[in-house]
Symmetry: C2
Subunit: 340 residues, 2 copies
Amino acid sequence: MQSQTSPLGEFDLIQRFFKTQSKAMLDKNPGSVILGIGDDCALLETDPAEEIAITSDMLVSGRHFFADANPEWLGWKALAVNLSDLAAMGAKPLGFTLALALPKADPVWLEAFSKGLFAIAHQYSCPLIGGDTTAGPLNICITAFGSVPREKAIRRSGALEGDDIWASGCLGDARLTLAALRHEIKLSKNDLEAIEARMHQPTPRVNLGIALRNIANAALDISDGLLGDLKHILKQSNQDAEIFLDQLPKSATLSNQSMDIQNQYAASGGDDYELCFTAPTSKRDEIAKISADLKLPLTQIGSIKRMQKSTPEIKLINSTGVALKQEQVNQLFQSFDHFA
Amino acid sequence: MQSQTSPLGEFDLIQRFFKTQSKAMLDKNPGSVILGIGDDCALLETDPAEEIAITSDMLVSGRHFFADANPEWLGWKALAVNLSDLAAMGAKPLGFTLALALPKADPVWLEAFSKGLFAIAHQYSCPLIGGDTTAGPLNICITAFGSVPREKAIRRSGALEGDDIWASGCLGDARLTLAALRHEIKLSKNDLEAIEARMHQPTPRVNLGIALRNIANAALDISDGLLGDLKHILKQSNQDAEIFLDQLPKSATLSNQSMDIQNQYAASGGDDYELCFTAPTSKRDEIAKISADLKLPLTQIGSIKRMQKSTPEIKLINSTGVALKQEQVNQLFQSFDHFA
C-alpha cells in the first residue's frame, strides 16, 4: 500500500483527493472496516454468518474508455463495474481498494475522478479502504469486497432446466451510445442525452442482487453482451437456453432503430451492467414484487432447456415463436463486433 | 472478473497459465477459499476469531522493473511485495487476485511469469482466486488477503517510548544490485550473483510477522528505505527514534563497499522487503528465540524516544555513540535518491 510514499511524490494530492474523503466516510459509518488507508494493510471485521465476495477489474485507457474520457464519469464507472460483479453474486458492498497509475499528477483530473468515485461509493455505502498510486500509463484497478450470507451467493452454475431467464432494466443502450460516439449511427442530441449515462455511469444492480439471494438459481452481470455472458451460465450449469428476441427489454431510444440494430445491440451489446438471472417459474410473483419495490423493470426473456449436445446452445426465438436458423443468426450478428 | 471473456481473446492462454494452476492448488488445499476463478466474484469463508487484512500493489514497467525484466522474477516479485505487506501486519496469507494488462499475449512471457508467480504462491500457501486480464501497457496489480486474530494486527501506530527498534535480515543489497545494474558501482560477477536475488526475488517475512503478533508494538515492511519507512511508524505513533548506524545489518558484499555507501544503502536503500518493528526491551529473549527458530537474523538497530518537536525526528548515532549533526546527515545522503 504505502500511499504515503507514492512514487509520484504527490502525497498531498493523494491525501487531498482520496485519504481525507475515505476517512470522512469511515468516521461516519465504519461498517465492517476496522482500519482504512494508512497502514501496510486495511483490516475488515468478519461475520461468521457471512462469506466475503471479492472481485477485481482493471480499466485501461483506449480499451475500456476513451483517453480523453470525462474523469468524473470514469471514477464512477471504475467502481460501478466492480459493484456490478458484487451484485451478480448477491453480495452487499463492504469496501474497495484503488490502484491507480497516472501519467502525471493532474489536480484537475484527480478532483473530477475522485468526485465521481466517491459519489458512487457514498451511494452504495462502499468506502475506499486502501490502495496504491504510481506514475505510469493511465490504469485503474479496483478490487471490491462484499458480504453474502453463507451459501447464499448466486453462482453462475446453478441454472436448472425449466428456469425462466430474466434481465433487469434495458439492454443495448450502452452499445447504442458507443455507436453514436463512433459516428456509426446518427442520434439526435436529445436521444443521445437520454441514454449516454448508460455507457458512462452505469447503475450496478446491488439491491436487486441482494433481493434475489433466495430466488435466483444463477446470475451474472451483463458486461460483454447478453448472449455471450449467458453462455457462461449455460456452460457452468450444463444447460441450453431459448431467448425470445422480441422480449428483450429496450429503451424508447433503441426502439427507434432498425429491428436488426435493436436485436444486435440488446442481445449482444456490452457494457450494460444489468443482471441476467434464472429462477424457477414458481418465483414469478416474487420477482414481480421485487421489480415493483425497486422500481426496476425485470423482464422474462427466455428459459433454460436441457442441454442437447456436449456444448451449451442458445436458440433465438422470433416473434412468431420460431427458432432462427443458424444462417439467420450468422446474418444478424455477422458484422457485429461483440458477438462471440 | 470475467477472465473467460478477456479482451485479449486469449482465454486459452489464461486458462493454461493461470486458471488450471489456481484450480489445482485450491483442489489440494482450499483453505478459506470457497470459490476461486470463474464466477463474478471469488468467495472467502470467514472465521469469527479473525480479521481480514487486505493490501494492493501496482507494478508498472519502467518504474518498478525494467521493461525487459525476467518475467519469472517479475511474477515472484509482484506477489512478494504484497505478501510483505501482509507480513508487516502479522497476517497469514489466504489468497490473492491478479489484474494484468499486457501489450500482447506472449505465451513464452506468460509461462515464465506464471512460473514465478505460482512458485511463491505455493511457498506461502496463497492461492490465486480471481482477477482480470486486458490488453494494455504492461501493468501488474495484485491484491492480497490474509487473516490475523482479532485485535492482533501489528499496526504502525503502536510504537512506545523505550521500545527497541529491530530489522530483519540484511539491508541495502537490493539497492546495491540496482547500482550495479545501472553501472554506478562495479561488482564482480560473484558478488552480484550473491545479492541480486534480493532485488529480483525478495523474501516476504511472513513467518516472522506471524511470530511477532504478541511481541511487536509496531511494524512495517521496508520498501522505500529504512529511514523513510520508519518515519511512518514515528508519525503514526508520535515518537522520535535513535538509529545506531553501525548496527545496521549488512551482507558481506555490501560490507566491502565504502562506509558512506554502506550507510546510505542500508539506511535508505529501497526494495529490501525486510521488516522493521519495535518491541519492549523485555521481549529481547523471545525475539532472539524467534530469530533462532526462523534462522533469520534479527538485529536491534535503535530505540524509540519521546517526541521532542511537533514532527518526529530520527537521530543517527555513530560508532562512538555520538549523534550526527544535521549537516553530516545532509552530506551523507545529499546525493542519494531514496532519502526523503
